[in-house]
C-alpha cells in the first residue's frame, strides 16, 4: 500500500537476519576453526514510476509517462561463510592440529562426513583418533585411525608416526572450492564435491583460532542495530501518518 512501509519493513527484516549471523559470530570469536558468516544483501528490483499527462489534441485522453524509478527495498540474498584463515596458535599438545590449507575429514557413527579446520583431536576409549564429540578422523583411505600409545609425531603432510618410529597412517586433508562447501555447524562443512588432496601445511601442537574479530563484529552489530532502529522509527512514523490519514482525513 504505502511503498515506504514495505521498504522499511524489508530493511528491518534484513537487519534482523543479518544480526543473527553477527551475534553468532560474536559468540564464536574463540571457537576453534570457526568461519564467520557474512550477509550478502540484494535489492529488490526497482519499480517504474509513471504519471499521466494530457495528450495533445484532438485525442481526449491522457498519456502514461515513465518519470523515474523507485527502489522497493533490500533483502538478504545469501549468508555466506568467510573462509579467511584464522590465526594459528601454538598449544603444545601433541594431538592439537592446525591446517594452513584444506580441511580434515571426519565422520560420525552413521558415516556422515564432515570437513573441518577444528583440529582438537584425542583418543577414543578404543584408541581411535577422534574429535572431542566422538566423531572419527579419517586417513587417506577414508578409514578410521587406531593410534598406538605414547607421544605421536605428525608431520606437515599428515603422516602420523608412533613413539617407536613406526608409521601409523596419513591423515586425509582435502581442499575444496569455496562455493562447494555447505555450512554444517559452526566449524563444520559438508560437500558433494570430491575435494583435492593437500600435501603440506599441517602444524602439530597448534590450533586455528576463529576468523571472527571481536571489534569488527561488534561494530557491525551496532551499525546494523542502528539501521534496524532507524527503520523501525520510519515504520512507526508511517504508521502514525496512515492513522492520521484514515482517522482525520475521513472526517467531514
Amino acid at each position: 500500500m504505502i511503498k515506504g512501509l514495505y521498504s522499511a519493513y524489508s530493511a528491518m527484516k534484513v537487519a534482523w537476519q543479518f544480526q543473527e549471523a553477527i551475534a553468532n559470530n560474536v559468540a564464536n570469536t574463540d571457537t576453534i576453526g570457526f568461519k564467520r558468516e557474512l550477509a550478502l544483501l540484494g535489492s529488490y528490483e526497482n519499480v517504474l514510476l509513471s504519471e499521466s499527462t494530457p495528450s495533445p489534441a484532438p485525442l481526449n485522453s491522457r498519456i502514461q509517462q515513465i518519470v523515474g524509478q523507485i527502489g522497493t527495498g533490500t533483502f538478504v540474498a545469501e549468508v555466506v561463510s568467510d573462509f579467511t584463515d584464522g590465526a594459528i596458535e601454538e598449544t603444545k599438545r601433541d594431538l592439537d592440529l592446525a591446517l594452513e590449507d584444506g580441511f580434515f575429514v571426519i565422520e560420525d557413527d552413521e558415516g556422515e562426513r564432515f570437513y573441518t579446520r577444528d583440529g582438537r583431536f584425542g583418543r577414543a576409549v578404543d584408541g581411535t583418533l577422534a574429535t572431542s564429540q566422538g566423531l572419527f578422523v579419517l586417513d587417506e583411505n577414508d578409514q578410521r585411525i587406531t593410534l598406538p600409545g605414547g607421544v605421536l609425531t605428525i608431520d606437515e603432510s599428515g603422516l602420523i608416526v608412533g613413539a617407536d618410529g613406526a608409521e601409523v597412517a596419513t591423515l586425509n586433508i582435502l581442499d575444496f572450492a569455496r562455493t562447494d562447501l555447505l555450512r554444517a555447524g559452526e566449524a563444520y562443512f559438508q560437500s558433494d564435491a570430491q575435494g583435492t588432496p593437500v600435501f603440506g601445511g599441517l602444524v602439530q601442537g597448534a590450533l586455528e583460532s576463529s576468523n571472527a574479530e571481536l571489534i569488527d563484529e561488534l561494530t557491525t552489530l551496532m551499525a546494523v542495530f542502528r539501521t534496524f532502529q532507524a527503520n523501525q522509527t520510519i515504520l512507526a512514523k508511517l504508521d502514525e501518518s496512515l492513522q492520521t490519514a484514515t482517522e482525520s482525513l475521513g472526517d467531514v
Partner: protein, 245 residues
C-alpha cells in the same frame, strides 16, 4: 527469532568457564606437580538439511595438559622429581591403584613411607632401628642401619601410559586409571624404559601465570561483548514489539 539471545547466552556461559578455568589454574600455580587445565570452544556438526541454527558456541571441551613443570632444588632427601612422562605408583587406603607425579615422601608414625596420605605401591617402610631414609636416582629407598651403613629398604615403582588424557583426577595430584589409558608399562627409574629421577628436587606446576592472566583479561572483555550482544538482541525485540503501539 531468539537465536541472537541464545548465541549471546552461550558466549556468556563459555567466557564464564574460561574465567573459572584460569582462576583454578592460578590458584594452583604454586602447587607442586599440579597439571593445568584449559577450555576450548568448539562447534557442533549438524548435517546439512537438518536446519542450521546459529546458537553460538556449540560445545566446550576441558582438557588437562600434562607437559612437565620446572624442576627446582628441594633440600629433602625424600623428595624427587620425575624426568620423563612417567607416574609414581601408589595405593589408596581402600586398595585402589593410583598414579601421581608428586615425589614428596613423608614417614608416618609406624615408619611407612607415604605420599600425601597414600602408600607406595608396593609399600615401603623404615624398619625399627633404621633411620635417615633417602631416595636414590634409581628409585631405591635406603636407610642407615645401627652400624651406620646404608641399606636398601624398598623400591619406588613407576608406570607409563598409552594415553595420559584418560587418567581420572581424584584430587591433590592423584589419578586413577580410566578407560582408554591404553597399555600400562610398569618399571623402575633408570631401568631403560624409565629415566632416572632427580633426587632432592621437586617438580612445580605447569601453570604460566602470565598466560592465565592474559586469558582472564581477554575473557572479561569478551564476556562484556556477549552482554552487549544480549542487550542489542533484547533491544531489537523490544523495538519490534513497539511497532504496534
Amino acid at each position: 527469532m531468539t537465536s541472537m539471545l541464545s548465541a549471546a547466552a552461550s558466549g556468556l556461559k563459555y567466557y564464564q568457564k574460561v574465567m573459572d578455568v584460569a582462576g583454578e589454574n592460578l590458584a594452583n600455580a604454586n602447587v607442586p606437580t599440579y597439571r593445568r587445565i584449559r577450555v576450548v570452544a568448539e562447534g557442533r556438526p549438524t548435517p546439512v538439511g537438518t536446519g542450521l541454527t546459529r546458537n553460538g558456541v556449540g560445545s566446550f571441551t576441558i582438557d588437562r595438559l600434562f607437559d612437565a613443570g620446572k624442576v627446582s632444588l628441594f633440600d629433602d632427601p625424600l623428595a624427587f622429581a620425575i624426568n620423563d612422562d612417567a607416574f609414581i605408583r601408589v595405593t589408596s587406603p581402600d586398595g585402589t591403584l593410583m598414579l601421581t607425579r608428586l615425589g614428596k615422601l613423608t614417614i608416618d608414625g609406624s615408619g611407612l613411607l607415604m605420599i600425601a596420605g597414600q602408600t607406595l605401591e608396593p609399600p615401603v617402610s623404615v624398619p625399627d632401628g633404621l633411620s635417615h631414609p633417602e631416595v636414590a636416582y634409581d628409585g631405591v629407598v635406603s636407610a642407615l642401619n645401627p652400624d651406620l651403613e646404608r641399606v636398601p629398604i624398598g623400591q619406588i615403582t613407576m608406570a607409563k601410559l598409552g594415553n595420559v588424557e584418560a587418567l581420572e583426577p581424584v584430587g591433590a595430584g592423584f589419578y586413577t586409571l580410566g578407560e582408554g589409558v591404553g597399555t600400562v608399562v610398569e618399571g623402575t627409574p633408570g631401568d631403560g624404559l624409565f629415566l632416572p629421577v632427580i633426587v632432592s628436587g621437586l617438580e612445580s606446576s605447569n601453570v604460566d601465570p602470565t598466560t592465565q592472566f592474559t586469558t582472564m583479561m581477554q575473557a572479561q572483555r569478551a564476556y562484556s561483548s556477549s552482554t552487549r550482544t544480549f542487550r542489542v538482541g533484547d533491544d531489537m525485540l523490544a523495538l519490534a514489539a513497539d511497532l504496534t503501539q
